[in-house]
């Protein structure tokens, strides 16, 4: 960000940095450097003082060194030529007698992120791997991963990998774990670090020496090791037993996962582990750190899926406290819903009932849905609670209760009677679409048991004109038809009125969509499908070649959908298979002026065939195209819409430019269709770009 006056600041700082008086006074010198860093973090371009800063790195003050290195790492990618000058200083520091300085210099050097730095850092890293100070070895080991990252697609250096594997035997625990991390990064393409028997056993023996992060990570790596015999398996489990009691929740979870996976042949061991991990998990659930608490609750839910009732005796731990944030409350409600059993159902329902009247509508609704979930097993109690809630006449409660009822009658038909008795009067407190749909559905399906059902529906029919939600109208039509079959006398008249309204008002396209495939496919998608079918029928004489075949599996499902929706946007309708000859194209192209020109961002390589296929799906034909990888790369496209208007396009990729240049010509000047055509083109190219990255 170019700030106003940044040049003056740079000039002033430069002067200060060069001032020998300031340089002599360590505190003042460091203060100036701090100011440079402060401006840098605020977004001012401080690269102008690079040389002065490099000089400032030659100091015995380690804090000053750190600051200068931070500065270098920030500006090295922007000023690679200047940064090369800094490398000398860094290299010298890599052989400083102080290991802190060696480590710091090596770490900074590996973070320079500028092209060509690899050749300079390779030797210091190799030296660092054999350094006698473990601090430097730690840095060097991770430096290997950074170096590999800088290379990008480079070959894996076998010697380095071997060196790292041998460093797994290092006596410093962090070096060991860093080796694993580094190898994992370098060997990502080949499936990561290989854990064979000697490595696995070595790691297992070192486990207790590692810090908690190391332990958690090693446990994760050990998942890759498959013990040869049952005896070995149980030896491993015995060794790891104490980690189930670790004070770090990450380690406990890691150990649990390992136990569950290793012992998959021994269900009783798995159950035993889950029983033992219960305590730590419950402790984490009431942890002070909200985020940790949330993660623990998610794990509890996961366990409940395989061991329902596992936490049932601890249900009180999952009661919500007033001050807890929302996301924890919602998780707790879910957990409560899943651990209900005969003993605690009374208390849990009592507690959930309290939540239903919470100030937060979201939380209240979640609690009601939870009661609905419990109702599948304990129907009577829950229906009673839900019925009482209707008495509160609160809009946000009533709508959710009615939705819960709808789902419940499906699953537990025995509660239909109770639900039907509770329903009358609800309609006054429902405003939203979901709630109305649920109520209308219930009235339609069970209308014969609800005396006033026709009259409630009649109100809806009366107000159908002002009804804003099409889904509600659809539901109403279905429900009324159903009710007509069971109570014809009361419904005949209004069904007639509703049908009349539906047919007479074709503006309301919802009625014309009724009983078509629109509700299944979605409107835009269906329009495309039916149009395509139409086109196919209209042009039987045209050979049905690549155009339709192209909509096959070449393009991933979601993208295909996007592409197919395109013709629907605007009034543009491109005609398929209007293949122009190259000669005709050239003649037309030369005779026309460019109607539109723009550039789109475009990075890296791609396969022209993919682009061609994608363009064909939207009925844009490719006339000619350069070979993949050639620079400049060009493509000529043509398309014709249903009115006969031609669109000729040139795509151009200049070498070294990360943009695609698009020029479009049109044989009839019509901006509207031109714009739609360009948006189609943009989306296709955007999609290809997405697939690519």
């Amino acid at each position: 960000m170019p700030y106003l006056g940044s040049e003056d600041v740079v000039k002033e700082l430069k002067k200060a940095l060069c001032n020998p008086h300031i340089q002599a006074d360590r505190l003042r010198y460091r203060n100036v450097i701090q100011r440079v860093i402060r401006y840098m973090t605020q977004g001012l371009d401080m690269s102008g003082v690079f040389m002065e800063m490099v000089k400032a790195s030659a100091t015995v003050d380690i804090v000053q060194k750190k600051l200068v290195y931070l500065y270098m790492c920030t500006y090295a990618p922007l000023k690679p030529d200047l940064a090369l000058l800094a490398i000398n200083t860094l290299c010298k520091d890599c052989s400083d007698p102080n290991p802190m300085v060696r480590g710091l210099a090596l770490r900074s050097m590996c973070s320079l992120r500028m092209p060509g730095v690899q050749e300079y850092i390779q030797q210091p890293i190799l030296n660092g791997l054999r350094d006698k100070a473990s601090y430097v070895r730690r840095v060097a080991v991770l430096g290997c991963a950074k170096m590999h990252n800088l290379h990008g697609d480079s070959e894996v250096d076998g010697a380095l990998v071997n060196e790292l594997y041998s460093l797994l035997r290092d006596q410093d625990p962090i070096v060991v774990v860093n080796c694993l991390r580094s190898l994992e990064e370098i060997l990502k393409q080949e499936g990561g670090v290989v854990i064979n028997k000697p490595i696995a056993h070595h790691l297992l023996n070192r486990m207790s020496k590692l810090d908690q992060w190391g332990q958690a990570e090693v446990l994760n790596f050990l998942l890759r090791y498959q013990p040869r015999s049952e005896e070995e398996l149980f030896d491993i489990l015995n060794l790891l037993d104490s980690f189930l009691k670790s004070s770090s929740p990450g380690v406990v979870m890691g150990a649990t996962k390992l136990f569950l996976i290793l012992a998959k042949m021994f269900p009783h061991v798995q159950t035993d582990v889950l029983v033992r991990v219960k305590g730590p998990l419950l402790a984490a659930c009431s942890s002070e750190s909200r985020e940790l608490c949330f993660v623990a609750l998610c794990h509890v839910r996961q366990i409940l899926h395989s061991l329902p009732g596992h936490f049932s005796s601890h249900y009180k731990k999952f009661f919500c406290s007033y001050s807890e944030p929302h996301y924890i409350k919602l998780q707790k409600v879910e957990v409560l819903c899943e651990l209900v059993n005969d003993e605690n159902v009374q208390q849990v329902l009592e507690e959930l009932r309290g939540y239903c009247t919470d100030v937060s509508a979201d939380f209240a609704q979640a609690a009601i849905f939870a009661i609905g979930g419990i109702a599948r097993t304990y129907t009577d109690q829950c229906v009673q609670i839900l019925t009482e809630l209707l008495g509160l006449r609160q809009e946000h409660i009533t709508t959710v209760v009615v939705q819960t009822f709808r789902d419940l009658v499906w699953l537990c038909p025995q509660c239909t009677e109770a639900v039907c008795q509770a329903l009358p009067g609800c309609e006054e407190n429902i405003q939203d679409s979901e709630g109305k749909q649920a109520l209308i559905w219930l009235l339609g399906v069970h209308g014969e048991r609800i005396p006033n059902a026709p009259y409630v529906l009649e109100d809806f029919v009366e107000n159908v004109k002002s009804e804003t939600f099409p889904a509600v109208k659809m539901e109403l039509l279905t429900a009324l038809l159903r009710l007509f079959l069971s109570r014809p006398a009361e419904c005949q008249d209004m069904l007639g009125r509703l049908l009349y309204y539906c047919i007479e008002r074709p503006v309301n396209s919802w009625a014309s969509d009724f009983n078509t495939l629109v509700p299944v496919y979605g409107k835009a998608h269906w329009a495309t499908i039916s149009k395509c079918q139409g086109a196919e029928r209209c042009d039987p004489e045209l050979p049905k070649t690549s155009s339709f075949a192209a909509s096959g599996p070449l393009i991933p499902e979601e993208n295909k959908e996007r592409v197919q929706e395109l013709p629907d946007s605007g009034a543009l309708m491109l005609v398929p298979n209007r293949q122009l000859t190259a000669d005709y194209f050239e003649k037309t192209w030369l005779s026309l002026k460019v109607a539109h020109q723009q550039v789109l961002p475009w990075r890296g390589e791609f396969h022209p065939d993919t682009l061609q296929m994608a363009l064909q799906v939207v009925n844009i034909q490719t006339i000619a195209m350069s070979r993949a990888g050639s620079r400049p790369w060009k493509a000529y496209l043509s398309a014709q819409d249903d009115t006969g208007c031609l669109f000729l396009t040139e795509l151009l990729l200049e070498p070294g430019n990360s943009e695609m240049q698009i020029s479009v010509k049109q044989n009839e000047a019509r901006t509207e269709t031109l714009n739609s055509f360009i948006s189609v083109l943009e989306t296709v190219i955007g999609t290809i770009e997405e697939i690519k990255s």
Binding site: M253, V295, G354
Partner: protein
């Protein structure tokens, strides 16, 4: 992995807190050099490295300009096998302070039934010991008593659940014979934590009547009862009672202590400096309500209680001995202090 990832954020926060006392935007801005130095050591390439604030403090210091530069070396702990203690520590007077702190979490329903009551205990140590001492801590742990056949005697014992130790404790020995043996880090640290979910009588019991007469007034009556031993005294008791946000003109009457209206939190805080066990106190409060009611509905916040009872543990846990062995053979004194305090102590109101 997710648990680890979340945990590191928490740890970073804690490390910063230990450096700056409190973690705020201001303190980060003022100390950006140290923040940068810390982040540099905490994580490398996204992987956690040295996260123990004790060790970090040895080579990243607040007044770093005082550092004798040029001589600075890697502190031995960064390379040490016992990563939590450096060698060559010396004290004139060798002492260990042991704090046994139990916090009580309580959740009581509006109708007075206890929903949740648990004790979270921690044993914190403050170690001023020279050299590499070997410590052994003895507790009245029920499992240990059963192991040694002491359970039949009149010794009171406690069954600890979900015990967690600092990484310095040798877990294998604890598993074998329940001995807590360790080489401690220097200075403050948390040796162990435990949890008891055995139901205990709520230490301070609150009965409340909050009567709201719409458009005119709210009347609050709170009765607090100390349900612990008569010899003990709860200090700094603070009972916060929720009031509607549009309440005005407060009036209070208390049998002991003082009450204060805190409008920004919508509570009345009744503070009692010392509250002996077995006593019962009363507070009445009266608020006016505006005649025009505001539209939004309010939640029903619970009554919260804060207190601290020294020389007392709810669970009855006791330190039976603390043995300190160092090869130089010095004598060291252990000091023990017990405190019970309120944790998340809430009583719902109707």
């Amino acid at each position: 992995m997710s648990a680890s990832a979340v945990f590191i954020l928490d740890v970073k926060g804690k490390v910063f807190c230990e450096y700056f006392k409190e973690l705020e935007e201001e303190s980060i801005r003022d100390n950006f050099v140290i923040v940068y130095e810390l982040l540099d050591e905490l994580m490398d390439f996204g992987f956690p490295q040295t996260t123990d604030s004790k060790i970090l403090q040895e080579y990243i210091t607040q007044q770093s300009n005082k550092l004798e530069t040029g001589k600075s070396r890697v502190p031995p702990t960064v390379t040490n096998a016992v990563s939590w203690r450096s060698e060559g520590i010396k004290y004139k007077k060798n002492e260990v302070f042991i704090d046994v702190i139990e916090s009580v979490n309580l959740l009581v329903n509006a109708n007075g039934s206890v929903l949740l009551s648990e004790i979270v205990g921690t044993i914190k140590l403050k170690v001023f010991l020279s050299g590499m001492p070997e410590l052994r801590l003895g507790l009245n742990d029920r499992v240990l008593f059963e192991l040694t056949g002491l359970s039949g005697s009149k010794n009171k014992s406690v069954e600890l659940e979900d015990v967690k130790f600092h990484q310095c404790v040798r877990l294998s020995r604890f598993d074998n014979d329940r001995t807590i043996s360790f080489i401690p880090p220097d200075g403050d640290f948390e040796l162990m934590s435990y949890r008891l979910s055995t139901q205990v009588k709520p230490l301070i019991w609150i009965e409340s009547v909050i009567e709201k007469f719409s458009h005119s007034r709210v009347e609050i009556m709170v009765k607090a009862k100390g349900q612990f031993k008569k010899q003990s005294v709860a200090n700094g008791v603070e009972i916060s009672v929720p009031v509607p946000s549009d309440a005005d003109s407060p009036r209070f009457k208390t049998s002991v202590g003082s009450a204060k209206y805190v409008p920004e939190r919508n509570v009345v805080i009744w503070s009692i400096k010392s509250f002996p066990g077995g006593k019962e106190y009363l507070m009445r409060a009266h608020f006016g309500l505006p005649s025009v009611e505001k539209e939004e509905v309010e939640g029903r916040p619970p009554i919260g209680v804060k207190f601290e009872i020294p020389y007392f543990t709810v669970s009855g846990i006791q330190v039976r001995y603390m043995k300190i062995i160092e090869k130089s053979g010095y004598q060291a004194l252990p000091w023990v202090r017990y405190i019970t305090q309120s944790g998340d102590y809430q009583l719902r109101t109707s």
